[in-house]
């Protein structure tokens, strides 16, 4: 599916030209302002990202009562931190699933690319590509292995296929070597991939050294 990655090419692709045509027509009709496109780039390129998700995770790691509220009602617990998804944020209801010694969770949307925008920003390309969507429900351990994550056979592997308006966030395990870390320090450790479930949170380099 090399064409799924047309950013490697120099010439404008079919979709690029059709998008240009559509944009020009909508502009002429007064339905779209080029400034809006710049605003989208600024907003999703800079402001909305996986930071909100990382804040939720770090709070759950440092506040046991919050962790319990988060697992009981993810939507309400996210709202406590000012993160209100709603339909626009692709997160009318949030369910948080927790990794642990006996279970690993991973999230997908096989039918389209549903994803908790309000917590994680826009999804990465691999999440939307046919390879991930087709394979992770059938051979999740093989897929995670390609991400560098070996899940032992005795660990249960739960796949969450986001087939309705419920959105899923993985609460990863807190890594060793982070005793005494502040919430802020923990936030910086949590990559997007860990909250989708295709990675663990690594130990901080200084701790591992």
């Amino acid at each position: 599916m090399s064409h799924d990655h047309d950013h490697d090419h120099e010439t404008p692709s079919g979709p690029a030209l059709r998008a240009e045509a559509l944009e020009a027509l909508l502009l002429e009709k007064g339905l779209l302002d080029p400034a809006e496109v710049d605003a989208v780039i600024a907003n999703y390129g800079e402001r909305v990202g996986p930071l909100n998700g990382a804040r939720v995770v770090a709070r759950a790691w440092t506040d046991e009562a919050y962790r319990q509220r988060l697992l009981a009602d993810g939507t309400a617990a996210a709202a406590e931190l000012g993160i209100v998804g709603g339909p626009g944020g692709q997160m009318e209801r949030l369910v948080v699933v927790e990794n642990g010694p006996t279970v690993h969770n991973v999230v997908v949307c096989t039918l389209c690319s549903c994803y908790p925008w309000a917590l994680l920003g826009l999804p990465p390309r691999w999440y939307k590509d046919p390879a991930y969507r087709s394979r992770v429900v059938r051979e999740p351990r093989a897929v995670l292995r390609e991400f560098g994550l070996e899940v032992p056979a005795e660990k249960a592997l739960k796949v969450w296929d986001s087939s309705a308006e419920v959105r899923y966030l993985v609460l990863p395990e807190r890594p060793e070597g982070t005793q005494g870390f502040s919430e802020e320090q923990l936030v910086a450790l949590v990559p997007r991939e860990a909250m989708i479930g295709v990675a663990l949170v690594s130990e901080p380099p200084e701790a591992a050294a």
Partner: protein, 227 residues
């Protein structure tokens, strides 16, 4: 509709390609497509997200595989603008060709049915109070239906006619199968249903895998458990 979008469990769709430090958009046109979503909303062309998802599902299958995520959005948006009478397909084709697209460029969207009436969002989202009690309780054994709607549906092909178990109740939600087609919200109870990997992919599949789907009550039948 078991269309090209319904990818779960299909094989031969390549290997993962993970990009380091990926930007939110790779090209300006992708952000433009994103912004067109808002324009479609203002023009009254979107309807609702179920209708939009179905517009994407109706893209030419080869285009669906080739056009990347925002290319698929673009295909869906073309259909929405055309079906709402905002633009004509001919005008889009003509302009794209003037910009350099080849004459043979695929029309990204290919509506196969007469357009449905456009029914908009309730801004408050898709959760609905339901007076009818849920048919299934936590822990109930269920079987998914074999049938699938010829239009928009959220029961993936790989989970049709399979045995599962209710693990969560989510209350009443707008039913995508009707909502996408202008046939009303018809709210239904939503459940999370857990399927053992071996019940989806056979006894030789990966061990210890459980796949969870959020399924609407009309997709579910009671199942008698073998003793």
């Amino acid at each position: 509709m078991q269309g090209i979008h319904d990818l779960g469990g299909r094989e031969g769709f390549g290997v993962l390609q993970v990009e380091k430090d990926e930007p939110a958009f790779h090209h300006r046109w992708e952000a433009a497509v994103f912004a067109m979503m808002f324009a479609a909303g203002r023009a009254g062309a979107t309807g609702n997200s179920d209708r939009f998802r179905h517009a994407i599902e109706r893209i030419d299958p080869a285009a669906y595989l080739e056009d990347s995520y925002y290319g698929r959005w673009l295909g869906g948006l073309e259909t929405l603008f055309v079906e709402a009478g905002v633009l004509t397909r001919e005008a889009i084709d003509e302009r794209a060709q003037r910009l350099g697209a080849p004459l043979t460029a695929r029309v990204a969207s290919r509506p196969q049915a007469p357009p449905d009436p456009i029914v908009g969002y309730d801004a408050s989202g898709c959760l609905r109070d339901l007076s009818t009690p849920p048919r299934f309780a936590l822990g109930d054994a269920v079987q998914t239906t074999l049938a699938s709607s010829p239009g928009h549906t959220r029961l993936p092909a790989y989970a049709r006619g399979r045995p599962g178990r209710i693990t969560a109740q989510h209350g009443g939600w707008v039913f995508p199968d009707t909502h996408a087609h202008g046939a009303g919200e018809q709210p239904a109870h939503l459940y999370t249903v857990a399927f053992e990997g071996r019940d989806l992919w056979g006894p030789g599949s990966e061990p210890g895998v459980v796949v969870h789907l959020d399924l609407f009550e009309p997709y579910l039948l009671p199942r008698k458990e073998s003793p």
